[in-house]
Structure formats: structure tokens, C-alpha cells
């Protein structure tokens, strides 16, 4: 039995616990939010999959960006994302955050959301149905198992690029960078 076999066994229950209790941050960013209440209330009941809406970013580890993102909303989205604790996952809803959607020529919406924060999964639809959201969660489970849902690691490693893009879109940002841009030592955090 070599070392990583043991660490794999130790990590399995933590991963299962993390996977089956995804807490969603309660933040209505776009028009897709109208499909979240049916998902969390009695008809579709996402709590069967361990999904509970919570009030503050500190308690959440799943962030649903529901629909288009306007420039003004991008600022609270980035702050909320940076306040969430790792491991954190983001799912983008509908066509607008992928390639601009219906507002591809609007002066006030963000076209490609993955230029500003890392996105672990996209759901097609305008806007996605409750069934698609539930199946998306099962897909997120497989990603977590295969350690592919590592958006937050990408954010940490490419933080300068993300930060530069955010400044290009929002002008100056009135909060300090999350990771000190200078030291390169943070790469080895698990």
C-alpha cells in the first residue's frame, strides 16, 4: 500500500461529505433565478440531493450564476465568489454567460463569464428547466469525484489574469486582491 493509496482512502469520506451537501448561495444574479424556487421547494425538492439555499457566502460552496450578468452585477458576483470558502464550485445557467445569449450586442452585459471567474459547469437552455438543474448537480458530483471541478484552483493559479480582466471590465476595484499577487508560494495548497 503506497502513500497516495492511503491518502485516497482518507480523502474519500471528505469528498463524499462535500459532494452530497452542496450549499447554494442565495443570490439572484439574473433571470434564471425564477427556476430556483421550484427546484428548492416541494415539487422538485433539490434537498433530496443535499442542496440547501444558505444566506451568506461564508456558508456556501455552490454558486449558481443564473442567466445573464450585467456589468453592475459582476462586481457583487466577484466579491461573493471571493468570499466563498474553498472548495467552491460555480455553475453557469443558460446561454447568456456562455457567449452573450440574447444580449450579445448589449453595452451593459458581460459576454463570456469565464473571463472573470472560473466556471465548473454550464447548463444549456434559456433558461434551464428544474430537471436540467437537478441532472447538472449529478454531473457536478462526477466532476468532484474525478477531481475535475477545480475552478477554484485555477482561480488561485491564474489570479493575475482574472484580476486584470476584472479591472478591464469594471474599472478600478475597491477591494484588495484576494491572493497577494507577488508571492508565488501559494501554488502548492491542496
Amino acid at each position: 500500500m503506497d502513500r497516495n493509496q492511503i491518502t485516497k482512502w482518507l480523502k474519500a469520506p471528505a469528498k463524499m461529505a462535500n459532494k452530497y451537501s452542496l450549499h447554494v448561495i442565495y443570490f439572484c444574479t439574473g433571470c434564471g433565478i425564477i427556476e430556483i424556487p421550484p427546484v428548492i421547494t416541494s415539487r422538485w425538492d433539490a434537498e433530496r440531493f443535499g442542496i440547501i439555499p444558505v444566506a451568506t457566502p461564508r456558508q456556501a460552496n455552490l454558486f449558481l450564476i443564473t442567466g445573464y450578468v450585467s456589468v453592475k452585477t459582476l462586481r457583487p458576483i466577484i466579491r461573493t465568489y471571493e468570499q466563498m470558502l474553498e472548495p467552491k464550485y460555480v455553475i453557469g445557467f443558460g446561454s447568456c454567460p456562455i457567449n452573450g445569449g440574447m444580449y450579445w450586442d448589449s453595452y451593459n452585459t458581460i459576454k463570456h463569464l469565464d473571463k472573470y471567474i472560473p466556471i465548473d459547469g454550464w447548463i444549456a437552455g434559456c433558461m434551464p428547466r428544474p430537471e436540467a438543474i437537478i441532472i447538472a448537480v449529478t454531473h457536478l458530483w462526477t466532476l468532484i469525484d474525478k477531481e475535475m471541478a477545480n475552478g477554484y484552483k485555477k482561480y488561485r493559479e491564474n489570479y493575475e489574469a482574472y484580476r486584470k480582466n476584472q479591472e478591464m471590465a469594471l474599472g478600478e476595484l475597491d477591494w484588495p486582491p484576494l491572493f497577494s499577487v507577488s508571492d508565488k508560494s501559494r501554488g502548492n495548497v491542496q
Binding site: 453592475k72 459576454k111 469565464d114 491564474n158 489574469a161
Partner: protein
């Protein structure tokens, strides 16, 4: 009903062009200086609901056109009389170079957010307005976005498409 209103208006104000395109609608276009007086007059005549204050950018004739759309709540409170379905659209033209106009919040307090929005999206200043601070927009645009010479598709190409996507350097 609107026949008598038409005569009353023409008698009290000069320089009006009044058209009645259909039974339930009167279009009044007036010079910009006696607009507020007409608003006051119409409010007393029972048109106490400013449904909408809108601005149209006629870029060919280099003019902004402000439209006040007035209807009336009910005269007496329970029955529904035919008066309410009458709209009055009061239009006035202001030059497009540094456009400005007097605020109508004195007569209609609910014009305040409309004027803020028109100031922000068209760049028309309203003197006497207490709070002309930005309402909707986050970025600052050198041409107010709702003007016809602001091309949103060109703007998107210049601003958003220039932002590079993040290349994930695979370790």
C-alpha cells in the same frame, strides 16, 4: 369631451399644434417654454396621472423630443367613467447640443426617476432636479448610450471582445 378640451387649450396657449389622430388620443406639440404651464393646466383639468416621460432622439433633424404622456385617474372614486381612456401626449423639441430642460417634479412628483433616467441615458440636464445622480449604469460612456450616434455593437467589439480569455497554463 376632448373637443372642448382642445378649444380650451388653444385659447389659453398660443403656438400649439393639436392633432386628434383617434377618438381616445390627443397629440399636443408645444414650444419648450410653456410646457410646464400646459402641464399645470392639464393637471387641473383632471389629467392627474403622468404615465410616462419619454425622450426620442431625432438625430436627422438634430433635436430631442420630450414626450409627457398624461392620463387621468378616475374622477369619482368608485364608478369607472369613460374619461380615463383619454391619453394626452404632450411633445416638445429641444436642441441636441447641450440639451437641458426644466424639471417637472414640481407638478408631477413621480416624474423624478424618469428625469434621472433620461439624464443618464440621453444626457439631457433637468435644472431644479434635486437628485440627478446615476440610476442604472455602472460604466461611464462618453456618448450617453441611448443616443442614436452611440453604436452598441461597435462598443461591444471595442470593449468586451478585447478582454482576453484566461489561458489556463496546464501544470
Amino acid at each position: 369631451m376632448n373637443k372642448s378640451l382642445k378649444e380650451k387649450l388653444e385659447s389659453t396657449f398660443k403656438g400649439l399644434r393639436i392633432a386628434v389622430p383617434e377618438e381616445s388620443r390627443i397629440a399636443v406639440s408645444a414650444e419648450s417654454d410653456n410646457v410646464l404651464a400646459i402641464l399645470r393646466f392639464l393637471k387641473d383639468a383632471g389629467f392627474n396621472h403622468l404615465a410616462l416621460l419619454s425622450a426620442v432622439d431625432w438625430i436627422e433633424d438634430n433635436v430631442f423630443e420630450l414626450c409627457f404622456i398624461l392620463t387621468s385617474y378616475m374622477q369619482n372614486d368608485d364608478e369607472v367613467t369613460g374619461r380615463q381612456s383619454l391619453h394626452i401626449i404632450l411633445k416638445t423639441k429641444i436642441p441636441r447640443k447641450e440639451p437641458q430642460f426644466k424639471t417637472a417634479t414640481g407638478i408631477f412628483p413621480n416624474a423624478e426617476p424618469y428625469e434621472r433616467e433620461i439624464h443618464e441615458l440621453f444626457g439631457i440636464k433637468f435644472e431644479g432636479h434635486k437628485r440627478l445622480i446615476p440610476l442604472l449604469l455602472e460604466r461611464n460612456y462618453e456618448i450617453p448610450p441611448f443616443r442614436k450616434d452611440f453604436d452598441t455593437r461597435k462598443y461591444v467589439k471595442e470593449v468586451f471582445d478585447k478582454i482576453p480569455s484566461v489561458e489556463i497554463e496546464e501544470k
